[in-house]
Symmetry: C2
Subunit: 201 residues, 2 copies
DNA sequence: GTCTATACGGCGATAGAC
DNA sequence: GTCTATCGCCGTATAGAC
């Protein structure tokens, strides 16, 4: 049994640093092994493949954040307040993990069959309660009629896409990482106002 | 000399099919060579690398579409009409090349240093005239004050992001490719209305 | 110029000895 | 649990035939 989970931890620690630094494709299992000072094949012993190791790390990184996003969506909050909180929490999550969007998109692109297995994409499903709430608010005359699926996609697009093109934004505007974060934080209000004004009766 | 450009064309034809079918990472140069019935090293002879071949194909696929997008943005059209045309043309382009967004994001993620060399990303730069137009319309009192950079990013996000998560959307809603296209075409109006209502005074 | 054959170093993964 | 050895791929480079 020896060090039990110590080796596993070393792999995760090293892999996390490298994945965050260079992304999935540019990090090799040999890189990970040499940084963790372990034998290459131990990576395959503890995790069955590089991809599973990667997904494990993603899930660890974002922790309960994704499920708390789902909680907001499923809560009984007032519609406006729900949208506000959802945007804020999502953007905070992505600011803490700026490569998350690219990672998830890379996986979706690389192995589309694994979509439903990814915990990260959980938040994209089960938007039923939110959809019902939009329908109800409309029938009360509080908001315009909207396709909930389209509205939710609008919200997601406005929140997530900028992180997918972070490099382009930074290069175009000569942004540092800090300047990018400032730019993104300003988006909290912008996205909220954009979404709300689009459903105002 | 033989068939002159015939070999080159065969490579491009085969590679296009495979890239569109399986994406960049899952297509090997050996796949391409065997499908084109040519020697592996000819790929390196005509194109210097797999990546350059890929970029060449992307540029061929989207042809003048990207530059015509830039033309719209730089035109003297009325703001509303400009936004409308830009959305419509962009979405038509992406419907014709549904993998384009994923491809570009994959390249951005894989080799961020090549951003400015990609012709496809040209459309993301030089939005100066559009920015000025937004400022002018605001000073005339026709629209609310907006950060042009944020507004343009909103537009781009709403247009492009859905294509990056096409697989998820299709799986969630049990969409066929046709149903996805219908869903996207409906977005032309939705995106227009969302953007316009966000700047209405 | 065009093409073939072949080889190089690196990759992710695995079988099997200890 | 750990390590060595090795497998079958990959993208790329090059020597040399036509």
């Amino acid at each position: 049994m020896a060090d039990k989970s110590n080796t596993q931890e070393k792999i995760i620690e090293s892999a996390t640093v490298l994945f965050l630094e260079k992304g999935f494709h540019r990090t090799s299992v040999r890189d990970i092994a040499s940084r963790a000072k372990i034998n290459i094949s131990l990576m395959n012993y503890y995790f069955r493949s590089k991809e599973i190791l990667f997904e494990t790390i993603i899930d660890l990184l974002i922790g309960g954040a994704v499920s708390s996003l789902k909680e907001i969506l499923d809560s009984d909050l007032d519609l406006n307040e729900k949208i506000r909180q959802y945007i804020n929490k999502y953007i905070d999550l992505l600011i803490s993990n700026p490569l998350l969007v690219s990672f998830v998109l890379a996986i979706l692109n690389h192995s589309p069959d694994k979509i439903s297995k990814l915990k990260v994409t959980d938040s994209l499903y089960n938007t039923e309660k939110f959809a019902n709430q939009l329908d109800e608010e409309n029938s009360k005359g509080n908001i315009r009629k909207v396709d909930p699926e389209q509205f939710y996609l609008n919200m997601l697009s406005l929140i997530a896409f900028p992180f997918a093109v972070k490099h382009v934004i930074n290069e175009k505007n000569n942004f540092s990482n800090e300047a990018f974060n400032d730019f993104i934080i300003k988006r909290k209000d912008i996205i909220y106002n954009t979404l709300i004004s689009s459903i105002k009766p």
